[in-house]
């Protein structure tokens, strides 16, 4: 693949996460009908174009991956705990896991202690997985292993882990020019993910509006009830703008579904295909847009085989 396209797509996977997260954040919890048809960056929580826990954890994951040359559970747990800014809107499960990690508990024990030992089914492992996809694109086995390992640092439930692997696979497929939904279906190992992704494939024939897609696929903060809607959004729309907008308009966990769809769509089309108005609004600062771009470029270079 031409190296410029490869770098552009790598940036797209991370900036697509960031842009979708920032676009969806003001509508978190909203019904699909309450979300406008055209999205612009709105002033909410920490300001216009700011990111939430999704991107903050993706940044920490990218940094840890680069520093360690792979997923190291303890290092990654510490990286998440160090990066944690409660104002970014973390869920209660992840907040508790990070508290335990900070107090010295091994991440696997911390993650496994949640929900009476079942572990979290949340989409927190899937939403942040784009850096893993960039690093391991083209290496199916390495990708699945790294996605699982990255998930288990905070999410022990098999559904959350499967959702992370499926989302990573969809992004990686987009990065190398393959169909995200087909790759996701082939990677899914749980009935819940396989069933919803099969439904998503059927929806490609009928192309329902966002509210109906959300009703069929889910728009909740669990992995298996949000990843299928994100992958469907990207599969059903060629442009980054259309895919990300549709994902946010599914309502519910809008920032995460937007981030995940944005990651896939911009991994396919490249960062240069993200609307310039969206990019220009993204927050800067030490861990802002430029930092995210550089992480993507370094991950792309690290992944060259």
């Amino acid at each position: 693949m031409p190296v410029r396209l490869e770098i552009d797509r790598a940036r797209g996977a991370l900036l697509g996460t960031f842009a979708g997260d920032a676009l969806g954040m003001p509508f978190e919890g909203a019904r699909p009908a309450a979300i406008p048809e055209r999205l612009v960056m709105l002033d909410a929580r920490l300001g216009r174009g700011t990111y939430t826990d999704d991107t903050e954890m993706a940044i920490a994951l990218a940094e840890s991956l680069l520093e360690r040359g792979g997923i190291n559970a303890q290092a990654l747990g510490r990286a998440f705990a160090d990066a944690h800014d409660p104002r970014r809107g973390y869920g209660p499960g992840t907040t508790e896991v990070l508290r335990l990690i900070r107090s010295g508990v091994h991440p696997h024990d911390a993650a496994g202690s949640l929900f009476a030992g079942e572990g979290s089914r949340g989409n927190g492992a899937a939403m942040r997985v784009a850096p893993v996809a960039v690093r391991y694109a083209g290496d199916t086995a390495g990708l699945a292993k790294a996605a699982q390992d990255s998930a288990r640092v905070t999410h022990a439930h098999p559904l959350a882990v499967d959702a992370a692997v499926v989302q990573a696979t969809a992004i990686a497929a987009a990065l190398v020019g393959e169909a995200p939904l087909d790759a996701a279906l082939a990677a899914a190992t749980t009935d819940e993910l396989r069933g919803r992704l099969t439904k998503a494939a059927r929806l490609l024939d009928s192309r329902p509006p966002p509210a109906e897609a959300a009703a069929a696929l889910g728009n909740q903060p669990t992995g298996h009830e949000s990843v299928p809607a994100a992958i469907y959004s990207a599969a059903a729309h060629d442009s980054v703008e259309a895919a990300t907008t549709f994902a946010v308009r599914c309502g519910g966990d809008t920032d995460t579904i937007g981030a995940m769809a944005g990651a896939i769509a911009a991994a396919r089309a490249g960062a240069s295909a993200i609307p310039s108005g969206w990019l220009e609004a993204l927050e800067e600062g030490p861990k802002g847009r430029s930092h995210v771009e550089m992480l993507a470029e370094r991950l792309a270079a690290a992944g060259v085989r």
Binding site: V3, R4, D8, P286, M294, V304
Partner: protein, 165 residues
């Protein structure tokens, strides 16, 4: 118009440099993809200066942007040696790939060492101007122009030959 910014000689300055160059490129009318190229090339030049070069007495390196008739020039000034500016990095390195990647990304690259200062000057041209340059034979392969009596031409050629992609 030429604008100068002193950046602390730390890795974090690459991000600041990106913002500055992105803004200057927009003002110079550089298209999106060309801006991405120049921003990445600037990042590499700053990383190179921070890692292999030497800071000015104020612990900074100097970044300058200047509109040229055909696009935008970016200059990175440090007090390192010429060799440090050309330090080759292995292709598997995750940063500091330096001149190899820079040369592939810009329309013109100049490396100069004079009076104890090292200058890396990059130029990216607007698409229409770049095509004109190419037609008249000016562009073609990225131009690694050597200035003064410093450096080793074979090493520069070597860097250019090892471009990825």
């Amino acid at each position: 118009m030429r604008r100068e910014t002193w950046l602390p000689a730390t890795a974090a300055s690459a991000g600041v440099a990106r913002s500055i160059v992105r803004q200057a490129a927009a003002e110079a009318g550089l298209e999106g993809e060309r801006t991405w190229d120049l921003v990445l090339a600037t990042t590499e030049a700053i990383s190179n200066a921070v890692r292999h070069g030497a800071a000015w007495p104020n612990d900074c390196i100097l970044l300058a942007t200047r509109r040229s008739p055909r696009g935008l020039q970016v200059e990175v000034w440090d007090l390192g040696t010429f060799d440090s500016a050309l330090a080759p990095a292995p292709l598997e390195a995750t940063s500091g790939r330096g001149m190899q990647i820079i040369a592939a990304l810009v329309d013109r690259l100049e490396v100069k060492h004079e009076d104890g200062r090292t200058l890396v000057r990059l130029e990216k041209r607007r698409g229409s101007d770049s095509r004109r340059a190419s037609a008249s034979g000016v562009r073609g392969a990225p131009c690694l122009r050597r200035a003064g009596a410093f450096g080793d031409r074979s090493r520069q050629g070597g860097a250019a030959r090892h471009l990825r992609g």
